[in-house]
């Protein structure tokens, strides 16, 4: 059994009128690829965004590598450097070139020199097949390219875990494949990943565990094979019938 990297205990997130997360407990181990699926409004994105405190939980604890990130004493900026995040809308910085997007954080936050940061960035760009785009601006890229760059931007910080918030939902169908390919490649490299997704094929094929959420709770979780072939709860059966 590998080491527990993220331990979520009794996580609650209440917005003014709704409860987005209702006592969520989860453990994510080193090297796991966890796919989180569920209907819209089930709280899966909120869950992911709580993990690096983009949403501030109203209750419960989240331990990341032993330190409680909900404890104000822990420097969240330091912890976030070790948790890469990829957004549905890419959120590349439009006023910077691809290379500047990739090197900003390593240079300012990790004290890398320009040369060091660029070397690392170029190596990762090559890996996703976009080395020739280093001097482009984000607006000059396709959606699939933008998302691959966004993944590389997070990887440049050499994080311990990668959080993906519906990374392919804003893409044209023909571009989904190239992004999933990069994520598959990452999984092979033993990166710990938590992926909120609607890509059932990806969840089945790449994930080591699948979590089904509804109404702010984890209803069912299992290894992909069993999850998709032998769903235990009625609700998951209904959901899978609709989406598969």
């Amino acid at each position: 059994m590998s080491e527990v990297l993220i331990n979520v205990q009794g996580l609650v997130k209440e917005f003014s009128t709704t409860t987005a997360l209702d006592n969520v407990n989860a453990q994510i181990c080193q090297g796991e690829v966890v796919a989180v699926i569920g209907p819209s409004g089930s709280g899966k994105s909120t869950f992911l965004r709580c993990l690096n405190l983009l949403e501030e939980p109203t209750g419960g604890h989240i331990f990341f590598d032993g330190s409680d990130i909900t404890d104000p004493k822990n420097d969240i900026n330091k912890l976030r450097q070790r948790m890469g995040m990829v957004f549905q809308q890419f959120n590349l910085f439009p006023h910077m070139t691809v290379m500047q997007n990739l090197t900003l954080a390593p240079m300012k936050l990790q004290g890398k020199t320009k040369a060091q940061a660029e070397e690392k960035a170029l190596e990762l760009l090559k890996r996703v097949g976009l080395a020739d785009r280093a001097d482009s601006y984000p607006t000059q890229l396709s959606g699939g390219q933008k998302q691959r760059i966004a993944i590389v931007r997070a990887l440049c910080m050499e994080p311990d875990v990668m959080l993906f918030d519906e990374p392919t939902s804003a893409l044209d169908p023909e571009m989904v494949g190239e992004v999933l390919e990069v994520m598959r490649d990452l999984a092979k490299d033993n990166m710990t990943m938590i992926v909120v997704t609607h890509e059932m094929g990806f969840a089945r094929e790449v994930a080591t565990r699948v979590i089904f959420m509804e109404k702010g709770q984890i209803i069912e979780e299992n290894e992909p094979q069993k999850f998709f072939d032998e769903p235990q709860t009625q609700r998951l059966k209904e959901f899978l019938d609709k989406v598969l």
Binding site: P57, R80, M83, N91, K108
Partner: protein, 246 residues
């Protein structure tokens, strides 16, 4: 008409005789100096206030806090409160009255260079407008940009500085250019505190020669040329900063 004998005489009387053109030239210098430094004062005030106000808007609903966080939040609320008062008062009263209050009341008992008073007055005045311009620019940047910066590990201030402000600045460049033009023309009320700016210079000539046409049109023409130059400069800057969008 312009080359007629009468015009040449008028021209000589208004500009050449007794070196009267120097009223315009020196006035122009004062106008440019006051505009330039007031612009800097206005920008500094404006950006600071814009950051305070938009930070307050973004964070005052946050519940989760440490004691330090709490303290900063209270500080921010107080700062925001004073910023609002400043904006209300400055935008709610005429700049002429503000200029006179600063000169005759606040600096009333001090012997101070009038152009410094004018720089203060116009800078403070302009700051209020710049603040709202910059704030609208900050608000126009997608919140995802902010989240992307924070998720990489940048704190609030570095995220603002490296990621939000450059984009905000680009968005508000046309409005800021407009504010510079307004500011330049606004300085023409400097005569109220007997500061000899361009307008005042023209008026002095008018008083000496009893002819209004040439000095006033000369002043108007000079303002116009400067404004046109400024507009061209802003347009060029805009084009440069937008180069990466195509």
């Amino acid at each position: 008409m312009f080359l007629s004998q009468g015009f040449r005489e008028d021209f000589y009387r208004n500009f050449i005789k007794d070196d009267r053109y120097k009223y315009l030239l020196n006035g122009l210098q004062v106008t440019l100096k006051v505009t330039f430094f007031a612009l800097i004062v206005g920008l500094v005030i404006g950006v600071v206030i814009a950051i305070i106000r938009s930070s307050y808007d973004k964070t005052h609903t946050t519940r989760y806090s440490s004691p330090l966080h709490c303290f900063l939040q209270i500080l921010l609320s107080i700062a925001n409160f004073f910023c609002n008062i400043y904006l209300t008062v400055i935008r709610g009263t005429p700049s002429t009255v503000q200029l006179m209050i600063i000169y005759f009341v606040i600096f009333g008992s001090v012997n101070i260079d009038k152009s410094i008073v004018a720089i203060c007055a116009f800078g403070i005045n302009s700051g209020a407008y710049v603040a709202e311009i910059v704030r609208s620019g900050i608000m126009s940047v997608d919140n995802g940009q902010f989240e992307a910066g924070r998720s990489l590990g940048f704190g609030y201030v570095p995220t603002m500085w490296y990621i939000i402000l450059p984009q905000a600045f680009k968005n508000v460049l046309p409005a800021l250019g407009n504010e510079v033009i307004v500011l330049l023309k606004e300085t023409s009320i400097s005569g109220y505190i007997a500061l000899e700016d361009l307008t005042m210079g023209a008026n002095i000539i008018r008083g000496q020669t009893y002819s209004a046409f040439l000095p006033l049109f000369a002043a108007a023409g000079i303002y116009l040329v400067i404004v046109m130059l400024l507009s061209a400069g802003v347009k060029k800057l805009e084009k440069n900063t937008r180069a990466n969008e195509r």
